[in-house]
Amino acid sequence: MYPLHFSLALALLTAAAGAAAQAPITHEQALAGNVTPGDAPGYPVTISVPGHYRLMGNLQVPSSTGGIHATVGGVTLDLNGFTVGGPGTCTQSGANNVVTCTHYALAHLADRDALSGIRFQGRGNTVRNGTVRGFRGHGVSGGDTVLEDLVLRDNRYSGFSSFAVGHTSRVSGTRILLNGDHGVHSASYLIFERSAAVKNGGDGLQTGGALVTDSVLTNNRRYGIASSSNPHSTVRGTQLRYNHLGPISGGVLSQGGNYSGGALF
């Protein structure tokens, strides 16, 4: 019986090690290609296998392409404190919160996804712990996605974009600033918690409904939050100040503790 126990334990250990393994991604590997099967040399890095991936350094991405493209769901991407960066920058100036970016505007909507810093095509993906900045498209693009502890900035369009209808995403502990368009542009319901969308060229959040808690939506070019009213967005403990067109477009349900400068609600 002992050999059988030993074999079982070995098999379990092997499986656990495999599950916990995080495939590393570096700039050099990106240039070399084959990070996963089908990944061509150069950017974007294509992830075609579900699993954990971990950045081991900054990725310096040229303006003509996106950074990381996950073609499957079930991908967890740990940026490990590093940056997926393109060359663009944005600045805000003037009393009207206008944001000006160095990147060209893109002619086609699809290009905004293709030229995003991180693009998720499947469902159930997670990206955390790092910075995505300077891209011609969005910072992060994809539905049914979890974003945790990120900085999304200086991207030509939205910090985070999700046009996958019915795919709820969650943004936690994330700062989204100085993007040329909305901080978050989501066609689906959004959970936005302990995060900031500030100084963006559009709305702080433009969503098809959201639960916004303990967050800051300030200094945006348009509204702090502009959302579909069906379902109502629900807001709690959130600052909505200094947005050029006002704190809210449409209506929200308040759970209290919000402040718009003119009203505590």
């Binding site: 009207n96 542009h185 449409g250």
Partner: protein
């Protein structure tokens, strides 16, 4: 024992009186039930016109007066420019036809415990409202009335609400589209250095459609960055 209607023999005068009382109670119970039957008024009429049972005493019970049938209110179709907001039990009903939105809001405010002055003032000059709606959700009622005409926040507890109107209808005034459902390509690429958000054609939910600066805000002017929000570049 009220339901015990089995005829019996050999009762004295006291027993007959008790039976009469019991039968009366049974009938007063049955008649309203007939009115509420799923057959509606016709069923109720049939029930009241049916032959009354005769009892052992041989005396027919006095005919019950026909119960009043509550008809549903006729569909509300107010005249143009008018509105009615009322409550039917737990349901709020809004009937408005090209009505001043401020007036609809005033009536809804009275119904939901909101100070009617503020919404009426803010919505003065807003687009007229045509709406036929009924529902139990007071927040939804407010959403239907206010729409995108005024940024607002609501707290509703059952039928009573608190309403904050925290932005004037700037989007409508400025012609800024807030519908993010459709995107359109830009008319032309811009100079990479002065890439100001272009005025894109069509209904674009992006900021690019909102290049118009719009009216000056009446709430708060832009202020310096809140401290600690921005990481060092």
């Amino acid at each position: 024992m009220h339901g015990d209607t089995t005829p019996r023999r050999g009762r004295g005068p006291d027993g007959a009186a008790a039976l009469l009382v019991g039968a009366a109670v049974v009938l007063t119970t049955v008649a309203p039930m007939a009115v509420l039957s799923p057959h509606g008024p016709a069923g109720a009429a049939a029930a009241t016109s049916a032959p009354l049972p005769r009892w052992e005493t041989g005396a027919a019970l006095p005919a019950m007066p026909a119960a009043a049938v509550v008809k549903p209110a006729p569909p509300s179709s107010p005249e143009a420019g008018q509105a009615r907001v009322w409550r039917e039990r737990h349901t709020i009903v809004i009937a408005a036809r090209q009505a001043p939105r401020a007036e609809v809001a005033r009536q809804l405010a009275a119904l939901t415990g909101v100070d009617p002055q503020r919404p009426a003032a803010v919505l003065h000059g807003a687009r007229p409202l045509t709406l036929h709606w009924r529902g139990s959700d007071a927040a939804e009622a407010w959403r239907r009335v206010l729409g995108a005409q005024a940024g607002h926040a609501l707290q509703c507890d059952g039928a009573r609400c608190r309403l904050w109107l925290i932005a004037q209808p700037a989007a409508a005034a400025a012609g800024v589209d807030t519908d993010g459902s459709v995107d359109a390509p830009p008319a032309a690429d811009l100079d990479p250095v002065t890439d100001r958000p272009p005025a894109e054609a069509g209904h674009d939910g992006t900021a690019d459609a909102g290049a118009d600066d719009g009216p000056p805000p009446t709430w708060e002017p832009t202020q310096p960055d809140p401290p600690g929000l921005f990481p060092a570049r």
